[in-house]
């Protein structure tokens, strides 16, 4: 319970110190990457996989930035991530906040405490996006219903948690681009990797 407070305070503190860039340039640049992938790989499932792969490479790097900046600020988040609940809080309240300036929420823990959801109200990746309608000639609009535009997040979370020895599976299960009221990313713990920091990780 106190970790909730701490995480969102830490997120806010780190965000306020981050150098900033224009959110529109950010969204348009990501948009340029996604549409390029859509052109190059016709199958949206493959585009999703590429976005996940790209996100993974970002996640691996940005977790280092997060931990070191938190460390410098004396927040000691690494020791705070003692269980999946706390880790989830850090991903949502520190990670999303410090990099994107948006607040994400955590919820929907499964009974076995091995899976949870991250809820995102504002999605900076998709600020201007409307998926092409069925029958749009430029894109195969029907197929693009299968596109997970923001699948990058899944890769980022997967890559970041892998660095702290948590192997997870990640899926976008609700998407405002498809008419859902919120963006929901489902995260499921598959395995606690044995080595280094993961040793003192308690699964409960």
């Amino acid at each position: 319970m106190s970790s909730k407070m701490q995480a969102s305070q830490a997120g806010q503190a780190l965000w306020s110190k981050m150098p900033k860039a224009n959110a529109e340039l950010f969204a348009l640049t990501y948009g340029s990457l996604v549409t390029e992938l859509v052109r190059d790989y016709e199958d949206p499932i493959e585009v999703n996989a590429q976005l996940d792969r790209i996100g993974h490479s970002i996640g691996v790097r940005c977790v280092d930035e997060l931990l070191s900046k938190a460390d410098v600020a004396g927040m000691g988040l690494a020791t705070q991530c003692q269980n999946l609940r706390d880790t989830a809080e850090v991903v949502a309240k520190v990670g999303f906040k410090m990099f994107l300036g948006v607040q994400a929420e955590v919820g929907g823990f499964s009974q076995d405490q091995r899976s949870f959801s991250i809820y995102l109200q504002d999605n900076p990746l998709a600020t201007f996006v409307e998926l092409p309608a069925a029958g749009d000639e430029q894109y195969n609009g029907d197929d693009l219903r299968k596109l997970k535009y923001s699948n990058l997040y899944c890769g980022v979370i997967r890559g970041a948690l892998e660095q702290v020895n948590l192997k997870v599976e990640c899926n976008i299960v609700r998407d405002t681009l498809k008419g859902d009221e919120v963006n929901e990313i489902r995260v499921e713990l598959k395995e606690v990797l044995a080595d280094g920091a993961g040793d003192d990780y308690k699964e409960e």
């Binding site: 996604v34 201007f128 409307e130 309608a133 430029q138 894109y139």
Partner: protein, 165 residues
Amino acid sequence: MSSSPVLLFVIVGKNEPLYEAEIDTSSSSSMAPSNSSGGAGGGGGGAGSPSQQQQQNELSTRQNYFVLHSALDLVEKSVYSTSNMYLRVVDKVNQQQVSTFVTAANVKFMLLHGGKGEEVIKNFFGEVYGYYVKLSMNPFYKYDTPIMSKAFDARVRAAARAYLS
């Protein structure tokens, strides 16, 4: 005023129309005006049998396009003579007038009408421009390509009814 209650709104890109909508403002009820096949379902209760009216509609539709097309030539000639986006009425044929708005990237909004107020039309164009800009920020929307967004279509029609009825 014998002007037709039907408005024709067209967005024109570099070489071709990108979007068009025929909007019947005669009835305030929520009919669904269609820009295909002569809008026979309008039910705009008027003179003549349905078939007669349909013929009439098709005739005027063709005339309308003709008027818009000739107005476009005039617009092209005047785009670099004013820095205003709103060009007001650029052409008049009989009862029909063509008002035009040119965006920063030279996309033309053209409205064929029977003599609406200049301010009202300016406000309509201004609102449509907002929708157009948001549409054009979509990574999936490529500049100067046909506009397929249903949401955009709905907003334009609603704006037309709000400002031009």
